[in-house]
């Protein structure tokens, strides 16, 4: 009964803007579809003009580089939609990897290690969630703190050592592809998770309540949504998924290290913002995020293939991001001015 009263933005995050209240910040274009169109265009252009881009092997390389980013972007998108942020995801990956290495070195079987590491991820997420929801601290501050804390703990666990003797069957599985398609095997569970998250966000009352929280926490609270509890769960899920990312990262590179995935949080957030999710919460869709992750990965891959130096590559990524964040704001402002003019 309560959820119905909450605003119900469309999956693409677009049509909600049309009826948006004037108080809303950073209203967006239907950015999910914009970015998807852009991705398709880019893929076509790159396939035609970049030698070696459109091959099954290259597709495999590209997807392997995107898998962890896309994976962690899923729960983090939900977090951002509610108006919060979690910057500690990459440090959670690193700490999970370090703990996984330590336990493996101690002789535990992987079948026992993986559930333990996922539990650890849940605990790390719960720490973030409790600090945000129970103490009412801003998630930006909390997770900047745990970004440093979790990474520090990773170095306490493993120092600058690397644990590398994971079973070959597992490490080759982590990079193997489905038959001769070039598509990595791990894309299958990832697609399942994308679908699950997509359904939760776009087709359930839970999803609608997340948008409601992002638009107005007070309104959401008054309409009966348990904001604190929901956010706590979101942080826990993000922790678990990040730990899963850590397990996969470790197997993919066959090396457990405390510095694994350093800086990855920025790429994940880049994918989310590029995908059209408003950093202020309340709008955006999962399709755009997946397209955003793929676009970032494809741009990097294509530019590498034409030997663009990596410093320039970082600049290109940065410009893409700023454009993605600024363009909707500018568009909204232009639209607003046009609407105001006849009135005045």
């Amino acid at each position: 009964m309560t959820v119905e009263t909450a605003p119900a933005p469309a999956p693409s995050g677009g049509s909600a803007a049309a009826g948006g209240a004037p108080a809303r910040r950073g209203r967006t274009l239907p950015s999910g579809s914009v970015i998807t169109t852009f991705l398709v265009l880019f893929l076509v252009i790159a396939a035609v003009s970049v030698e070696g881009f459109a091959s099954t092997r290259n597709a495999g390389f590209l997807l392997l580089d995107v898998v962890v980013i896309a994976l962690i972007a899923l729960p983090l998108t939900l977090v951002v939609v509610t108006g919060e942020i979690d910057l500690s995801v990459a440090s959670t990956v690193g700490l999970s990897s370090a703990v996984m290495g330590k336990l493996w070195f101690a002789g535990l079987p992987l079948e026992a290690i993986i559930p333990l590491v996922l539990l650890l991820g849940a605990a790390l997420g719960a720490v973030n969630g409790l600090l945000v929801t129970r103490l009412g601290l801003p998630s930006l501050a909390v997770t900047i703190g745990t970004l440093a804390l979790y990474r520090g703990l990773a170095f306490v666990v493993l120092g600058d050592q690397a644990v590398a003797d994971f079973p070959r069957a597992w490490t080759t599985w982590a990079i193997s592809s489905i038959g001769s398609t070039g598509i990595p095997v791990v894309v299958v569970p990832l697609v399942v998770l994308v679908l699950v998250t997509g359904v939760v966000l776009h087709a359930t009352p839970v999803g609608r309540s997340l948008y409601a929280m992002g638009n107005s926490e007070d309104a959401a609270r008054f309409s009966g949504i348990d904001v604190g509890r929901t956010k706590l769960w979101l942080f826990v899920v993000t922790g678990v998924v990040s730990a899963l990312g850590g397990v996969y990262w470790t197997l993919r590179y066959g090396s457990a290290r405390a510095d694994n995935a350093t800086g990855l949080e920025l790429q994940v957030i880049a994918a989310i913002l590029l995908g059209g999710v408003s950093i202020f919460g309340g709008s955006g869709g999962l399709l755009g995020v997946v397209a955003g992750a793929l676009l970032l990965g494809s741009v990097r891959n294509a530019l590498q293939l034409v030997n663009v130096p990596s410093d320039v590559l970082n600049i290109v990524t940065g410009v893409l991001l700023i454009t993605a964040v600024v363009a909707p704001q500018v568009a909204a402002r232009v639209k607003g001015r046009r609407r105001r003019r006849p009135a005045s």
Binding site: M1, F61, L118, A169, I175, V188, T197, P205, L234, V237
Partner: protein
Amino acid sequence: MSRSLLGRHLRGGLTGVAVAALVLTTAACGGTTRGEDEGSSSGGSAGASADPDAEIPADLAVAFLPKALNNPYFDVAATGSERAVGEIDGEFSQVGPTEASASSQVSYINTLTQQGADVILTSANDPNAICSALDQARSGGASVVTFDSDTAPECRDVFINQATADGIAQTQVDLMAEQIGGAGQVAILSATANATNQNAWIELMQEYAASEHPDMEIVTTVYGDDEDEKSFQETQGLLQTYPDLKGIISPTTVGISAAARYLSGSEYKGRVALTGLGTPNQMREFVQDGTVTAFALWNPEDLGYLAAYTGAALAAGQITGAEGETFEAGDLGEYEIGADGVVVLGEPTVFNAENIDDFDF
């Protein structure tokens, strides 16, 4: 009602994660406890035979992949590689990540595989993280040479070792003996107490000094932890504790420059000898002002030059990476491949007032 709905759906999400984890867990079968895995390595070169007289093909695509870009040490090594590739009429390119992390090199190796590079010269940030990417590159026909920092031996064809531990130890002891006339008290200023390579060198230095320079007495080893300030203070402490100290050997670039800074500003300048491992750019002013006579380090330009020639010899089929094979490396002359596919660059380069201005790194 909405609360229970929320919990249920979020738990549904969690279940999804757990299912995916389960897929991940069960999909890979076989040995899953440490030590069970046989680790069947895919050493590529076994069986192939070398033809020492083979011509180096023209237009070899040689890619240089450092630990990270914009690192002066690797820039100098790249200069050497580029010169070598010029001599064999190949095509040189330098690619790499901007940060030296364990996995960041992988996508660059993948790109090189996709581009069909003939030779990949790389210094690994992690001995294992780039292994499977290198395997793919090699099965695509690339020859892989590591330098400066090796991968696991089965992941590359040849490793260019900058110097042997024996060579490093002996050069430093000989330099010190020369500077103090072969007799007197000497102290060692090291990095951290548990630095594996430093400790190995120190042990070899002590053995070598005892047998070759019996009048030279190594009185103590102190640790500056590779921190400039701590190394500076340890130097000060050494000179106070041992008033008759004749010299300090610092087998670390941080330690030697901090010690030089202390000596150059103290009454001990010119009276207490200092040598060890340092870079010319760090040490130039102290050599010029007379604080330091000579110190050593391998020459990264030669390292890159040798790596490129080794890659070319592999691509040409002159060598396969097996022990005992020999090849020509341009100006540097003939080299032989040692055990585990390792080639040693040679004795460290000694820098002094005469040659230090020829180097910029």
